[in-house]
Symmetry: C2
Subunit: 415 residues, 2 copies
């Protein structure tokens, strides 16, 4: 891929973004419905392309779980279409007045939500992200440059071709949805260095992908998703609730970023709680990597510091007894990825101290870490979960996909 191929695509995206920024909600919603219909009408085209990706993956002896993530079928295409319709149903963030006043000199000041312009998405495996990201970007007024994994290249190309046609029939420029051209890492590098052409970059995938984007990008990045989440069972916890929250946080779905990876138990309740939680977790097939107190139980593996640091994304949990809430907070400050951390307690003061001291995107009180999710929070659509502090933190819905500008109106005002 030559430099000019990427630059040409990015410039087309920029140009298209000017029109999209001015589009009304009615036009954008019509485009989203057209996109949903087109995915279903042309499903055969997409499934044929997907079969090519699947064949290639099987030839390369790709693990079954990756192949499953790559696979599309009618049900998944229907879910993608429904996702686009759901986004059409959400309010348009663009044009919202965030703040406004009349200044002492009579100038009228308004801060108005506007699209970013051009958003770059770098993501792995699942081809459904292609449609999800295109829909969220379109509704928030942003042109999108999509860079999926090469394993899904035929599926992504087919989905984007279908979506672009649909966008055009709704009267918007097809170039608001584009694939980053080229297969090599060079094209990703160009995307990451396209400051001025691309306004924001959102990586979605494993920790390695996200780290490399953060390190190499000069385009502003929104970091998403790595979750080393903790559940702390306080001395004042209701132990039935604690057991339910720990089990749900760890075992409801262990491959996702909001699953718990570490359990901290106050020493005052360890005697009562440890036998119950060890039995329940092991009964659910979870391997416990515990400190010396946990290690007294059969089947518990002795934890190393690495166990406290790692995001297992598997049926494993690190576990440790702490002497106080403050020691739990200190542990979380040291090891948490700042995604979601939870306390189980009936004590209001403990809840207040924990929520004030733990600085993570979401802090749960007597609730499973699994609730950190755009859908659960009622945002209707989610482009990812930000674990950084700049711009957006936690689940990112449509408003988080916008910037703002000040519009100041006078009558010949001068200083």
């Amino acid at each position: 891929m030559s430099t000019s191929a990427f630059t040409a695509v990015a410039q087309r995206a920029r140009r298209a973004s000017f029109d999209l920024a001015l589009a009304t909600r009615a036009t954008k919603d019509a485009a989203l419905h057209a996109m949903a219909e087109a995915l279903l009408e042309r499903s055969q085209e997409i499934l044929t392309a997907n079969a090519v990706d699947l064949d290639r993956a099987r030839s390369a002896a790709t693990p079954a779980n990756i192949i499953d993530r790559l696979r599309l079928d009618d049900a998944r295409l229907h879910a993608m279409a429904q996702g686009l319709r759901d986004v059409a149903g959400l309010p348009d963030p663009v044009g919202e007045v965030l703040r406004g006043s009349t200044l002492a000199n009579g100038l009228e000041l308004r801060q108005v939500r506007v699209p970013f312009g051009v958003v770059g998405m770098i993501y792995e495996a699942r081809p459904n992200v292609t449609a999800d990201a295109a829909g969220i970007c379109l509704k928030s007024g942003n042109a999108v440059l999509l860079r999926g994994s090469s394993s899904a290249r035929d599926s992504n190309a087919a989905i984007v071709a279908v979506l672009r046609d649909a966008v055009a029939t709704a009267g918007l420029p097809a170039d608001v949805v584009q694939l980053v051209p080229g297969e090599t890492h060079e094209s990703v590098k160009e995307l990451m260095r396209a400051r001025g052409l691309v306004d924001v970059l959102i990586p979605r995938g494993g920790a390695g992908l996200i780290r490399s984007v953060v390190e190499e990008s000069t385009v502003p990045v929104i970091e998403t998703g790595v979750g080393n989440c903790h559940v702390y069972v306080d001395s004042a916890a209701d132990l039935d609730k604690a057991l339910a929250v720990v089990l749900n946080s760890k075992t409801h779905r262990n491959s996702v970023c909001n699953a718990a990876e570490s359990l901290l138990v106050h020493s005052e309740v360890a005697g009562q709680f440890l036998p119950r939680v060890v039995e329940a977790l092991q009964g659910a097939g979870v391997t416990i990597h515990g400190d010396e107190t946990f290690a007294n139980f059969d089947g518990v593996v002795t934890a190393t510091e690495e166990d406290y640091r790692v995001e297992y994304l598997a049926a494993d949990i690190a576990a440790r007894v702490v002497g106080s809430l403050e020691e739990a907070v200190e542990h979380i400050r040291t090891f948490s990825s700042g995604h979601t951390d939870a306390i189980v307690t009936e004590d209001l003061g403990a809840a207040r101290r924990f929520t004030a001291m733990v600085d993570s995107a979401a802090v749960m009180v007597n609730a499973s870490t699994r609730f950190t999710d755009g859908g659960e929070f009622g945002f209707g659509a989610e482009i990812g979960i930000s674990t950084q502090k700049l711009h957006a933190r936690g689940p990112m819905g449509l408003p988080e996909m916008t910037s703002s500008k000040y519009v100041v109106t006078g009558d010949g005002h001068v200083r």
Copy 2:
């Protein structure tokens, strides 16, 4: 400077930020008042240090305008102290509930403003920025790592020593205000690569400084200040207002980022307006770098494309006649730095089209570009003017110096 010296400082800042994040408004305001008093009580100490910087600058044949920016005196110290008191008078952004709801399952969701944690400031020349930045960061709950220019090193060290003592007397950790140790560029590099220890980096200074921080930093950056600002005089402009706005935008103070650098005039009013604006600008000592129409006037220099691109920060302006509002927008999209662009028009439709199509931090209608300023906007304090789209755009006050987190409270809720 060794790696460990910087890391030690940054870790102390991080540790101190935990306490500061929990401090009440009363404590923070007491610290700000103590800082203001200390600047005045210990002014001799600061002025003595400043004299050392001034001597060194004179020996190095530093230009007079830079020496003036470096110079402190009683009036400037009083202004610094007043700035800190003003910040004490502003509402505390920390703890503000930005959004909240009770979810369908009864979970209580609140999005609460929290400090970033540790803010890095890299800035040039003026030692008053040291006190301003320390005050704004403290009030917004952030520990700050200050990296001023080496030309101001004695002044900055004296100011920081005074501020740290005052912070400590108010019962907050002195380490919430620290200088980045070391004189070499290495220490700036360490600051820029301290992702995880430093949450946000704000460069304030010339375009070169800002570009290098954006290019090299892995810490999230808020880009500030470069302003290639335009005034577009529409065919429906009131030409008296247009003349006032152009003159004020260019000549009120030409060394600042919100000064106008380019003038665009609709061809329909060029015949009437050009003689007046050329005479007025030249009368105010401004050199006009004009297109062929402007170049018909005596003293107008023929503009090159570089003139449309440059931020003069001087008594120079680029000038061009355009055939339509759309051509003006196209020029602005090509050359504007996205800081402030203005239209002068009496036509509502033209104003609406211009404000919708021009994507800059501030878009002015019948008002001078000079109004883009935290003080003018009524924010009370300003850490800089963001020209990027992520997180904050336009003048940044206290709320822009914060992040948020979600606090979710349940009663043993699981998915």
